[in-house]
């Protein structure tokens, strides 16, 4: 009982000194095991907590000095900050408890040691729970992540070998989508046998974009091409762009903003010619976005598919605009994620796939290319992404 009272007293002392000048981890956090909350994140959390404390003090004082709008604003801020500050307060308590319990575990009294051990288990579970709550509360919900995706793959440098690699990537995504029972539809394809110089596919299903969004970037392959007689390893690239699939709700495109071009051999059209050229090009005049499709025999279908791609592009543009501020913040914290940098390397001789963004290597290239092991790479990216988002909070 006395011990418990001492615990309380120390906890309160700790609170008084909680805000410090330099990024530090709170005492006791090292006892909580693996944590995603780094020192800079803790600093931000402390700031939030302080803000929450000030707000609640302000709102428990004389409310008559506040205007009606001011009051509404402060109340909203209070409830917003509470979503993070409350679990964070609990987390700090648990850290402090862990420090105490650590001492108790060295106590002479065996009963006390057993008690401390049990308490510690509970505290650890509680800390993990608090952390999840904090992360969930901090992360903004990106509605695009629930949407389907438009995946564009283009062969980069490396000639035929690049086109072969582009084809391999396409099959990897096809398999990956099949395994997750997503619907995959070809929108455009420029291929010659196994060589694919460019492809656009639409992937539909729940949460598709949230999974595939990390695939955007330059993918690099290192292998000995079948055609190489000297046994030299070649390096080629393919670029992947993943766009969220826009729905009518997400974005409206005005008919008057579009210029539609069809590629007819003769200016006459109608009965005068019998062209099979069904290609359609749509230009979105305000943004200068141009999309083209000639996959289907029906011009109407080509137009519809081109419109889908256009919507996706415009939607992504909007999303990027909104995300840019947040991203700038994050880049300052974690370094730039330049899209032109290579994001992943597929090294066949070493049986290795390395994702450079998270510095994660997997020694199972077949598994990745067959779509079965790709999820492991994506999981790493997901964790990193959530943490980055977290780091940009404040």
């Amino acid at each position: 009982m006395i011990r418990a009272l001492q615990l309380c007293a120390r906890r309160q002392r700790w609170y008084a000194t909680a805000v410090r000048a330099r990024p530090t981890l709170p005492a006791g956090s090292e006892l909580a095991g693996k944590s995603h909350l780094t020192a800079p994140i803790h600093d931000k959390l402390r700031v939030l907590q302080e803000k929450h404390g000030n707000l609640s003090q302000q709102l428990s004082g004389d409310l008559s000095v506040l205007g009606r709008e001011e009051l509404a604003r402060l109340s909203k801020e209070l409830s917003d900050t509470a979503r993070v500050a409350e679990p964070y307060g609990r987390l700090l308590q648990l850290y402090a408890d862990l420090v105490e319990l650590q001492q108790l575990m060295g106590d002479e009294d065996a009963k006390l040691r057993v008690f401390a051990q049990e308490e510690r288990e509970l505290a650890l579970a509680g800390a993990a729970e608090c952390e999840r709550e904090i992360i969930a509360a901090l992360l903004p919900k990106d509605s695009a992540e629930d949407a389907g995706a438009i995946v564009e793959i283009r062969a980069g440098t490396g000639g035929d070998e690049a086109a072969l690699f582009c084809g391999s990537l396409l099959r990897m995504y096809e398999r990956f989508a099949q395994l997750r029972r997503w619907k995959l539809e070809t929108i455009a394809m420029d291929s010659d046998g196994d060589k694919v110089s460019g492809a656009v596919v639409k992937v539909s299903g729940r949460g598709v974009f949230g999974v595939l969004m990390f695939e955007s970037g330059v993918h690099r392959v290192q292998r000995i091409p079948a055609t190489e007689t000297m046994g030299r390893t070649h390096t080629s690239t393919a670029t992947v762009a993943v766009l969220p699939q826009a729905t009518d709700v997400h974005i409206t495109v005005r008919e008057s903003d579009l210029r539609i071009d069809v590629f007819r051999a003769s200016g006459k059209g109608g009965q005068h010619v019998n062209t099979t050229d069904s290609a359609v090009r749509i230009t979105h005049i305000p943004t200068g976005t141009v999309v083209e499709n000639q996959q289907e025999r029906s011009q109407i279908q080509n137009k519809e598919k081109a419109m889908q791609v256009l919507r996706a592009r415009l939607y992504e543009r909007e999303r990027q605009k909104l995300a840019n501020e947040r991203r700038a913040d994050r880049n300052r914290l974690i370094g730039s994620g330049d899209r032109s940098e290579k994001c992943r390397t597929y090294n066949y001789p070493q049986n290795r796939v390395t994702d450079h963004r998270v510095n994660f290597s997997l020694y199972n290239i077949e598994g990745v290319m067959q779509g079965t092991a790709l999820q492991q790479v994506i999981d790493q990216l997901r964790i990193q992404h959530d943490l980055d988002e977290l780091a940009s909070m404040g």
């Binding site: 990897m172 070809t186 291929s191 109608g270 099979t276 050229d277 109407i300």
Partner: protein
């Protein structure tokens, strides 16, 4: 054994086609031919058509990536000799005889329908598809917005006549796009070839047709046409739609062999060629004839069956030079107002006549 390159790659066929069509279009047409031959010929066809799912699953079991459709289409190694023979013949016909791709493949998509085509019946054009879908959209909107019918007396479907139906694409396209019960459509044509094809297309597309369609062999230029048409619909007609022949005799002589050697001149030029130069040099006589017929069927009068907001006569035209003659013909026959629709290429493509001012 030396491998014959012709047996293993589509490249020579692609080169042959490119001579006629240019690289880009040659690649597209060859892709469509390959897809067609996969679907319709030989044992590979059976594998992808009938047991496609099993085949893909078998590949999954062996942990092989399943082929995408395009990959399968262009995987030349997997063509059987029968399929190769078909492809070579198809490319030869296309390049040397200028046989239209649609006749080679035997069909052309048109809205939700797949229209079977065979020479000499006119191949559905994308411009026609465009205005038909646009018309269907506005008719469907009108149908949805109509006042609720009195109980026990459901509102009658629109009675639509597709003059010069040919393959039946306009009639069947409307029947598939319009909501169930919105229309009752009759397609008529002078050609027995066309009628037979239209009927087979009706069967072929039965699954997507929401509305009743019938076809009749009627010569719209005959003296008794109006009375024959009235006999088909004692309750009266609401609308005429048509893709009538509108190519001028001078233009006809300069048409590509793809069109001139394969498609029925009667579907293209409104009068027999020997008299057309003199009697109809601008190719509008059939459009004028339709305006006269529409008046005879009392479609130009206000207060007929359907709402005045609906067009009563919709005709495809061959560009801006026929816009004024078509409008004039409609005004001369009592239509109060006309409208012009352009196609995606920006060419005047359809003229619509309304009864109201």
């Amino acid at each position: 054994m030396p491998r014959s390159p012709a047996n293993n790659t589509l490249a020579p066929l692609l080169r042959q086609l490119a001579g006629k069509l240019g690289d880009r279009q040659a690649a597209s047409e060859l892709r469509w031919m390959a897809a067609h031959v996969r679907k319709t010929l030989g044992d590979t066809a059976a594998r992808t058509e009938h047991s496609g799912a099993q085949y893909r699953r078998a590949r999954l079991w062996r942990d092989q990536p399943a082929p995408s459709t395009e990959e399968a289409d262009l995987d030349a190694r997997r063509f059987s000799s029968v399929q190769w023979a078909w492809l070579r013949q198809a490319v030869a016909d296309r390049v040397e005889k200028h046989k239209p791709l649609q006749y080679i493949l035997g069909s052309q998509p048109f809205g939700k329908t797949e229209i079977g085509v065979r020479s000499p019946v006119l191949i559905p054009r994308p411009e026609t598809e465009e205005w038909v879908l646009r018309l269907a959209e506005s008719l469907a909107a009108h149908h949805a917005a109509r006042p609720p019918p009195p109980p026990g007396a459901p509102s009658p479907p629109l009675s639509i006549l597709d003059a010069c139906t040919g393959s039946g694409c306009v009639a069947l396209g409307l029947a598939s796009e319009l909501p169930p019960g919105a229309a009752r459509i009759a397609g008529v044509d002078v050609s027995a070839d066309a009628l037979a094809l239209a009927l087979s297309n009706q069967t072929r597309n039965a699954a997507v047709l929401n509305n009743e369609v019938e076809f009749h062999q009627i010569d719209l230029l005959a003296a008794d046409t109006a009375s024959r048409l009235e006999a088909l619909r004692p309750g009266g007609w609401d609308m005429i739609v048509a893709n009538p022949p509108y190519v001028t005799p001078a233009e006809y002589r300069g048409l590509d062999a793809d069109v001139r050697d394969w498609e029925d001149v009667r579907a293209l030029v409104p009068m027999p060629l020997r008299v057309a130069d003199e009697l109809d040099p601008s190719g509008v006589s059939f459009i004028e004839r339709l305006a006269v017929l529409a008046r005879a069927l009392r479609l130009a009068r206000e207060g007929a069956l359907a709402s005045p907001a609906l067009p009563r006569l919709v005709v495809e035209i061959g560009g801006a030079k026929q816009t004024e003659p078509a409008r004039q013909a409609m005004h001369d026959n009592g239509f109060g107002r006309t409208e012009v629709w352009k196609d995606m290429a920006g060419t005047d493509r359809a003229v619509l006549g309304y009864a109201e001012k």
